[in-house]
């Protein structure tokens, strides 16, 4: 692993429920480089959102438990940091967040301006400067940055927008605001949890383009979770595929689509609707995470599965530089 910005190792997370304990993340490994846009794809319930929230330390405290693993970021293990330091030093400062549904992420009873002003009060990069300006001067400088960034995310009339309440602006505008708020603190990493799922298809593409462009300009890494392979193709440098709480393949975007090595990735790509094949699903069902299959969790649905797959989880093996797969019987170009 070369100079990762953030490295997740052997992360295991379980959720308590009435039916039993669900092993939602099962030894996940994942490294994100500085400035890279990383897609995290998989079906609903595969653990994308859990991984994203585990990195931020915002898993529900009463239901979720971290059983093992490390999240190394800036030379420290985030899982060891106490809550108050995470809130003050990491969240919204070095790692920012773009939520799935921008219409419920804003507080409905405060103006957008109030919410951004509070964000800047705690997370403004000016506060970290060598000689931070104080009081009024800083607030004015912060406001100028806010207005500038709102212009950059193509929001019309930013000054008026700040005086509005969240329900007075459109869904697309709210998500542009969320992108702006994520970038205002000048973080190193933005975690975007299905940021376009709640939006109209026509708006989705614009938002993705904007996110990619701004992240590139600022050299901000993005962890972009999605179940939309098309969206991942649009903006990602590399893609990590997750299945039932295990990461199964990690590849640069071109290799991911051209030379998938894991049978699940192959099936995922095959399930994309096309003119020739129409709609095709993946036979079988996602396993119950309360009593998951041993070994590779995909083995009950995989025609290549052997006894080894049912006992041992495959280790990560390189396919080519930057391309890793966890499969005992991986696909080669000929078998694909």
């Amino acid at each position: 692993m070369d100079a990762d910005l953030i490295t997740v190792r052997d992360l295991r997370v379980s959720f308590a429920s009435d039916a039993g304990i669900a092993r939602v993340l099962d030894g996940v490994q994942c490294g994100i480089r500085a400035g890279e846009i990383r897609g995290l794809v998989g079906e609903s319930g595969c653990g994308k959102t859990t991984l994203a929230r585990a990195i931020l330390g915002i898993l529900p405290r009463n239901a979720a438990r971290i059983d093992s693993g490390t999240v190394m970021f800036g030379g420290r293990n985030l899982l060891d940091l106490p809550e108050d330091r995470l809130a003050a030093e990491v969240r919204g400062r070095e790692i920012a967040y773009i939520p799935q549904d921008p219409s419920t992420a804003f507080n409905p009873v405060f103006t957008i301006g109030t919410q951004i002003a509070d964000l800047m009060r705690w997370k403004s990069p000016l506060a970290r400067a060598a000689n931070p300006p104080s009081g009024r001067a800083r607030r004015e400088a912060d406001l100028a940055r806010v207005i500038e960034l709102l212009r950059l995310v193509q929001l019309p009339n930013p000054e008026a927008l700040l005086r509005k309440y969240p329900h007075e602006v459109s869904g697309g505008q709210r998500q542009r605001l969320m992108i702006a708020m994520a970038l205002l603190p000048e973080p190193k990493l933005v975690i975007a949890d299905e940021p376009t799922t709640a939006l109209d298809v026509t708006v989705q593409a614009q938002i993705l383009k904007l996110l990619k462009q701004l992240a590139r300009e600022r050299n901000v890494a993005v962890l972009f979770t999605t179940h939309d392979l098309g969206a991942a193709y649009e903006i990602c440098d590399r893609i990590t595929v997750m299945y039932a709480g295990q990461e199964v393949e990690e590849a640069p975007v071109s290799e991911f689509f051209d030379r998938p090595s894991h049978p699940y990735t192959r099936k995922l790509l095959d399930s994309l609707p096309s003119a020739e094949t129409g709609l095709r699903g993946i036979p079988g069902e996602i396993p119950r995470l309360i009593d998951p299959p041993a070994g590779c969790r995909f083995n009950p649905r995989c025609e290549r599965a052997s006894d080894l797959c049912r006992t041992d989880r495959p280790p990560p093996e390189p396919v080519s530089p930057g391309h890793m797969v966890r499969c005992h019987h991986r696909l080669t170009e000929f078998s694909a």
């Binding site: 809130a87 969240r91 939520p99 509070d118 309440y165 994520a182």
Partner: protein, 334 residues
Amino acid sequence: MRILVLVVNRMVWFIPTLLGLLAIVFFISHVIPADPAAFAAGENASAATIAEMRQRLGLDQPMHIQFLRYVMSIFTGDMGNSIYTGRPVVEDLLSRLPATLELTLVTVVVSTLVGVPLGVIAALRRNSWVDHALRLITIAGLAIASFWFAILLQLLFSMRLGWTPLTGRVEGWGPEPITGFYLIDSLINQDMTTLVDALHHLVLPVATLAVPAAATIVRFTRAGVLNALESSYVLYETAMGYPRWQIVWKYVLRNALIGTVTQIGLIFGILLAGAVVVEAVFDWPGLGMFAVNSILNSDYNAVMGFTLIAGTMFIVVNLLVDILQGLIDPRETR
């Protein structure tokens, strides 16, 4: 300014609501089997005197004429004379209104200041011993009968410990009446002795009324805060590293208060009604005592006057609640 639209909209409903209220009370009070004419004429009056009295009071007219006359006079500010005291009902009511309002307002302020923070703490410490203790106390507070609790307080704090006065609003005469609110009047007169004395007299009646009121506010605030804590915006604010205290005491609380404000409005109305009992126990010269006496004396005009003023206050409080909610929750007004 949609808030203005809201206010005007409410105002339009003010009159019909009042008329409905008046009609109900008027007809109910007339089916009660008691003859106010006989009562007004005196114990040993002859049939002729009673008939004359009935005519003088307009009680011989058909029901709807009586009601129309009453409504007409209300709109000219005349609620008639009390059959019992012989004085204009308006004067009787207005002289007693401040005592009840003072008691009620102080109770609402005290129970809000106590109930809201406790409700937030119960929600934050959900299922801890603090939460369980508060649950026990609030349920007990709601279940306790106020007259019994009032007497208990009197026995302990007035009779045994001697810390508080037993009854009344002040020792001897009240301050020079300006507003009728003793706290305000003594402040205007810069009469600190009376102010302290009035506060002293308020302690037990306010405590009696505030216990169930604060209990309600704790329950509703707790529920509202818990609801808000599970929302997406709290997840977002946490993920972006807003400090916990700001999330709770600013972002969550304001959302939670939308429900609590409605409840405080209802409490205000319940307090006006509940004051009847508490005023009787503490010999508080307010509307409650007046209402009880008027009912016992079959004093139609006074009962209807009380109902009118209580209903009006209820409607005004509801209007204020609506406006307050519009101010707290911008989705209502913008």
